[in-house]
């Protein structure tokens, strides 16, 4: 054998010309290696794009919670990278931002479209025992004022019940009613009335 690329002379082994094979192998491996790497990278990038801000990701070890805040510092004694209850409450885009439940005329039935909102508030209270709130019941102006005071209370009680079912303690949820005495919108038509038939969650600081 004269000056080959690879000295694979071993006694007893057949002496073959293996250069084209290795070339092919190296090239092939190179191509395959490139392909695998590309696949892996794409996978991680895709997953990273789907992680909602602030959520924990299972199976990726300790992933820092990522939240976008406009220049706000993560405050509080809960440690670096944790979000305080105050901040959760103040987040205008978060699930706790919705604080008003609306009702049909003469009804205290809570619509299923508020299930998620009330679950978020209930769970927040459950995990933040230092917070409490008042549920304020209100009605539109029609009919007896005293009856409306009672109807407002019934609405507040219905919402309070759902909050405690979702984990809030009884002491964290107070109920009160203003009846028709504190309208959100002044007016004598359904436009105004529909906005006054409500229960408001008022957090106590």
């Amino acid at each position: 054998m004269t000056g080959g690329y690879l000295n694979l002379k071993k006694t007893g082994e057949p002496d073959m010309n293996l250069r084209p094979f290795w070339l092919a192998l190296v090239l092939g491996l190179g191509i395959v290696a490139t392909g695998c790497t590309t696949t892996d990278t794409v996978g991680e990038d895709d997953m990273a794009g789907e992680i909602p801000a602030g959520a924990e990701t299972d199976g990726y070890g300790d992933v820092e919670r990522i939240e976008e805040r406009d220049g706000a510092q993560a405050a509080g004694a809960e440690g670096i990278g944790q979000i305080s209850g105050e901040d959760l409450l103040e987040d205008a885009t978060g699930p706790l931002a919705e604080r008003v439940i609306y009702f049909e005329f003469d009804s205290s039935e809570v619509s299923s479209r508020y299930t998620d909102v009330l679950r978020a508030h209930g769970e927040f209270l459950a995990t933040h025992p230092e917070f409490s709130l008042i549920v304020e019941g209100h009605t539109d102006e029609r009919g007896s004022r005293e009856y409306n005071l009672a109807l407002g209370e019934r609405r507040a009680q219905a919402v309070a019940r759902i909050l405690t079912l979702n984990g809030a303690a009884d002491e964290q949820v107070q109920v009160t009613s203003y009846g028709e005495e504190q309208p959100a919108v002044v007016g004598h038509d359904e436009q105004a009335w529909s906005q006054n038939r409500r229960a408001e969650l008022v957090y106590q600081r």
């Binding site: 009919g143 004022r145 005293e146 009672a150 005495e181």
Partner: protein, 430 residues
């Protein structure tokens, strides 16, 4: 001639004083009985009396008109303006169609004014009542109401109660800057003065039996609580601040108890509070909304609003507790009961087929219901002491105003003098 005498006799018979236990016999539906035509002549003001800012005849005319029992003839039709019976030509007044005539004078007195009046029966050509008054300068309006009382009592046998008082809630401003006042005024809403001012809502004013004290709901501490306040001194004390709702106070006719609606964290029930001992007795317990207790004048029954049957209707229960029975059966919504001073009628807010909220009265004996107003947002009926009319609130465009309506439904009058939101009138018993 005969026809007019018969008509006069008919009217007189129906207006005769009735024994206390009898039912009202005047048709509530306003059928056969017509309003009695009466001419109240502008009082002659003697020379040297100066300018009066009070028109006594106009006060008498308005008081009588609002009861729905009198057709008060317009003064512009009066050819002559007599000031005493000697000057009266009865023939002129018969020609005008007047059955009765009131004339009077006002002159300067030593310490104010001298006022006199005479009430005449036009067809009988005789004086039925006459009086003279010595009036302090500020009391001209009161004198006008007193004369109206005399005329009313002479012709119907019942007290006019025109010197009674109204309580109502007034709201000014919007949103966070709203201010609430509890207003005390004469029965025609004049001479209004605030007796309580607050940044938070006030509700449900209620009179004690002799106008000496009142009760109301105040939100000044962030929730509903019931206070009792002395009229003369303004002193007040909190009488109910249980957990939940404390609302709809109503004094018993003897003034010793206060019925109210308390939820105490559950559903609102009717509870009677003994004002001297502080003890409470719960008299309903249906797990529904029970509110707006209203006492019968004999103190035996409490009428109240309840949705135990699905939607608000009026029920009654013995004041000491016992079986609850339903009272209203017409319409999809009946609330805000008020019992007339003679115990025969029940006023309410009623929603019928038209869908609007209107004031109605039900004869408690026959069950007949008469709707008196047009709605669509009428509230808070309260009987006048004479039982002939009700004050209530209604919406006029963007504003809420106080109004009266006669039980016979013919006389509907707006009382508002102010530009603010007013509501929940309570008419004193005297």
């Amino acid at each position: 001639m005969r026809r007019s005498i018969v008509r006069t006799l008919l009217c007189l018979c129906l207006l005769l004083p009735l024994p206390a236990a009898a039912q009202i016999t005047i048709e509530i539906t306003g059928g056969a009985v017509g309003a009695v035509p009466i001419a109240v002549v502008p009082f002659r003001v003697a020379e040297g009396t100066g300018n009066l800012d009070t028109d006594i005849a106009e006060i008498v005319r308005s008081d009588l008109y609002r009861t729905g029992l009198f057709d008060t003839l317009p003064p512009s039709n009066f050819i002559a303006q007599p000031a005493s019976s000697e000057e009266v030509r009865y023939r002129n007044w018969r020609a005008l169609g007047a059955d009765y005539l009131v004339v009077g004078t006002v002159s300067r007195g030593n310490n104010g004014y001298n006022v006199s009046f005479e009430l005449m029966d036009v067809y009988g050509a005789r004086v039925l009542a006459s009086k003279r008054y010595i009036v302090p300068p500020r009391a001209l309006r009161t004198t006008g109401h007193t004369i109206a009382n005399e005329v009313f009592r002479t012709l119907t046998g019942r007290p006019g109660g025109f010197n009674s008082r109204l309580l109502y809630v007034q709201e000014e401003g919007t949103g966070e800057d709203r201010q609430f006042q509890l207003i005390y005024s004469e029965a025609d809403s004049r001479n209004a003065q605030p007796i309580l001012t607050s940044d938070e809502p006030i509700m449900s004013p209620a009179w004690g039996p002799r106008r000496e004290r009142l009760a109301y709901v105040s939100f000044e501490n962030g929730r509903s609580e019931i206070y009792v306040q002395e009229v003369r001194t303004g002193e007040r004390r909190k009488v109910a601040s249980f957990e939940g709702i404390n609302s709809a106070p109503a004094f018993s006719p003897d003034g010793r108890s206060l019925a109210m609606s308390l939820s105490r964290k559950g559903s609102p029930n009717i509870v009677v509070l003994d004002l001297s001992s502080g003890q409470t007795r719960q008299i309903t317990s249906a797990g529904a909304i029970d509110t707006e207790p209203a006492w019968s004048p004999d103190g035996e029954w409490i009428y109240f609003t309840s949705d135990r049957g699905g939607s608000p209707q009026i029920y009654r229960v013995p004041a000491t507790g016992g079986d609850v029975s339903r009272v209203t059966f017409e319409g999809s919504y009946n609330a805000s009961p008020d019992v007339s001073p003679d115990g025969s009628l029940l006023a309410m807010v009623h929603r019928g087929e038209s869908g609007g909220f209107r004031i109605a009265v039900q004869d408690l004996e026959t069950g007949l219901v008469n709707v008196l107003t047009d709605g669509p947002l009428d509230e808070s009926p309260t009987f006048a002491p004479n039982g002939a009319m009700l004050a209530y609130t209604r919406v006029d465009g963007d504003q809420t105003e106080l109004a009266t309506v006669s039980v016979h439904g013919r006389a509907n009058d707006s009382l508002t003098r102010f530009e603010h939101e007013v509501r929940e009138p309570a008419w004193s018993a005297q």
